[in-house]
Point group: none
Chain length 371, copies 2
DNA sequence: TCGGTTTCGATCGTTTCCGATCGTTTCGTT
DNA sequence: AACGAAACGATCGGAAACGATCGAAACCGA
């Protein structure tokens, strides 16, 4: 163990500086068991990345500076004085609050005001809400409309013909309307599902199941991401359950979740990706009742990370960057408002991140104890 | 122990890295009982699939995200007073000057400085230029690398392993590396080609030809966009020329452009989309010499809009938003610099716009990004 | 049995990392 | 202000690791 990798040393240095605030260089020499010049090199490397700050004789934590001037905002023209931004979200109970907050902060930072209308995954109602906002005098719109079926296509066509700029949030025009010129900010849920699959594969699982929540607009993307990740990792499909379940709390719920657990156990599947925190937590409840241990018997990754941290055990979860997405959508709308003509269509895709907690039995925390 | 399949070795490697967090390569050699080069091969395979991360001398667990939120306040990087941004463009003669200017203005607006290195559509040279910039001390990089072939994949892998943030410009990771976590800003050239086809169709053309410039990295996308637009508009393919021509000025040029004109006239094709202004202008020259009238006998849309306005007659052209794209890429890089850890991967897609001039013979007004 | 393909290992030149040394700068004490 | 000690940066050389190429062995279908 005398010999350590550069990455290990960096990790240890970061940990030391995090716990102690400041670290003297000779202490690091002793801690790492390498020469002083090597420590200096490591420290300069970390300082170049901005992870620590060099001072004479040691290092300290980086001061949390203000974000970069003007942030990731686009090149915009003259600032609108007090833009009124409308937003139509399909729900305000799940997933969307963070998106709305993100939009809210971005609009407020621009000196504007956000007006929200809640809809309910229905194209007709979406359109009604948009009309209300237009009557209210909004200058631009963030919309997460229903895009399925004939009504969805019709709604998108109508949105694209509005005179105020419209930005789609977590929605893209369907293949039937590939060229409708609307800005959009979306999360790549396929990549997100792939992150989960890869994480489980790294932990040694080869048979990785999937549970998606019926009637969620993201289910298809998550299933697609799961499929491509499993096949690109050359993991087996046959016998691995990939179920579409009714939402948590519905009458058939207990029966279906029991079926999920049974199928996993029967097929030697010890890892599942579960779409939507609620369903994952429901699955955890049922495993507790039935004596199935998580993560020993079944590793679980949740998708959404709304309340995954508070479950028992805390769920490792894929986290769409909802707040950022909302902010980004608002910035797109404001930028379009400032430059409605020349500005080309922007389509921004954000990748989710993976937050590792305890529901997969990750030994990463314990393994570095004796550094 | 002596004889193992590759899959078994991979399994053992994953288990080792899982239990220890990091593994040195010689340890794996001893553990697996195979040669070092084989271990290296296995490790690169696993790293390509995103299951482990390669570091010099060994491997570590992939860090999808920070397991522990770091501090109550949003952690950001150092306050870069005067960020130094490097850029590698494959050419400074065509298309790229506008991109570079866009990046330049964005970096300057943030109080930083842009350092440019020109390369030449070659992965080896791209890498050398990047090294030069790193030696120069740049804190972040905008790169438009060559992504084709083995060398291209290798280059992308290397770019993804750099410690400074890298933003891809007009390039996306190839399908072989779908999960490499690099920000990117690209133009949707498929949409651009579709814009041209749709414009010509609106003007009454049903048989719409295509001329692409050989050895351009965008040719494939333009051809794909032309194909999908033609087929989704249910226009005919058969007999319609879709040629890949050598660049303007090459020895065969006159022969080939004559062939293009002949094929169009013979097949009753009175509209073509021509990739790259130079080739379109060359086509116009030849039509003048041969007495073919533009737009009466042949409507021409050019792709790129570098010098299309100055041709005779002025060319209707698809215009990638090069200046904006460069600015956007620079903003992505600066934002990543300010927040290197928590910020998710951003992929931004810009649509080109269509600038209507006289080479298609219509009297519509200039079309805009949004209708 | 044959030919093609895949997989693994040996070798070699190159790159990268690490430590020793030395001269210079910075800090703290008198 | 002067001094010494500590820290720092630069340079060099050895050792380890890396990538590329070639060749041998195993595998597989015909």
């Amino acid at each position: 163990m005398n010999q350590k990798l550069a990455a290990q040393r960096h990790e240890l240095i970061l940990r030391a500086v995090r716990t102690h605030g400041t670290v003297r260089l000779p202490d690091l020499v002793e801690l790492l068991g390498v020469s002083a010049v090597t420590v200096r090199r490591d420290v300069t490397a970390l300082a170049d990345r901005g992870l620590v700050v060099r001072v004479h004789g040691g290092i300290t934590m980086p001061r949390h500076a203000e974000p970069f001037p003007r942030g990731p905002q686009s090149v915009v023209g003259p600032a609108q004085t007090h833009p009124l931004v409308g937003m139509v979200a399909p729900s305000v109970e799940y997933y969307w609050p963070a998106v709305i907050q993100g939009a809210q902060t971005a609009v407020a930072a621009a000196g504007g005001r956000l007006v929200l209308r809640a809809s309910s995954y229905d194209a007709i109602e979406d359109r009604r809400r948009v009309c209300e906002l237009l009557d209210r005098g909004v200058q631009t719109l963030l919309v997460a409309p229903s895009t399925t079926g004939r009504a969805g296509v019709e709604l998108l066509r109508w949105l694209g013909a509005q005179s105020v700029p419209v930005v789609l949030v977590e929605r893209l025009p369907p293949p039937a309307l590939p060229t409708i010129a609307l800005d959009a900010a979306v999360t790549d849920h396929e990549i997100g599902a792939g992150l989960a699959v890869r994480h489980l594969a790294t932990l040694g699982h080869s048979r990785i199941g999937l549970v998606t929540s019926r009637q969620s607009p993201h289910s298809d993307a998550i299933r697609a991401g799961w499929t491509t990740a499993v096949s690109s990792l050359e993991l087996p499909f046959n016998g691995v359950p990939a179920l579409d379940v009714p939402p948590y709390g519905s009458p058939q719920w207990t029966r279906v979740v029991d079926q999920v657990i049974d199928e996993c156990l029967n097929a030697s599947v010890h890892a599942v990706l579960v779409h939507a925190d609620r369903e994952a937590i429901g699955l955890l409840e049922r495993t507790r009742e039935r004596g199935v241990r998580v993560p020993e018997d079944l590793a679980v990754v949740s998708y959404d990370d709304e309340v995954a941290a508070a479950s028992d055990p805390p769920l490792t979860a894929v986290r769409p960057q909802k707040h950022r997405l909302g902010a980004l959508a608002a910035q797109l709308a404001l930028a379009r408002l400032a430059d409605p003509l020349d500005r080309p269509v922007h389509r921004v895709v954000l990748w989710p991140t993976l937050t590792v907690r305890e529901s997969c039995g990750n030994e990463l925390n314990t393994s570095r104890g004796l550094g």
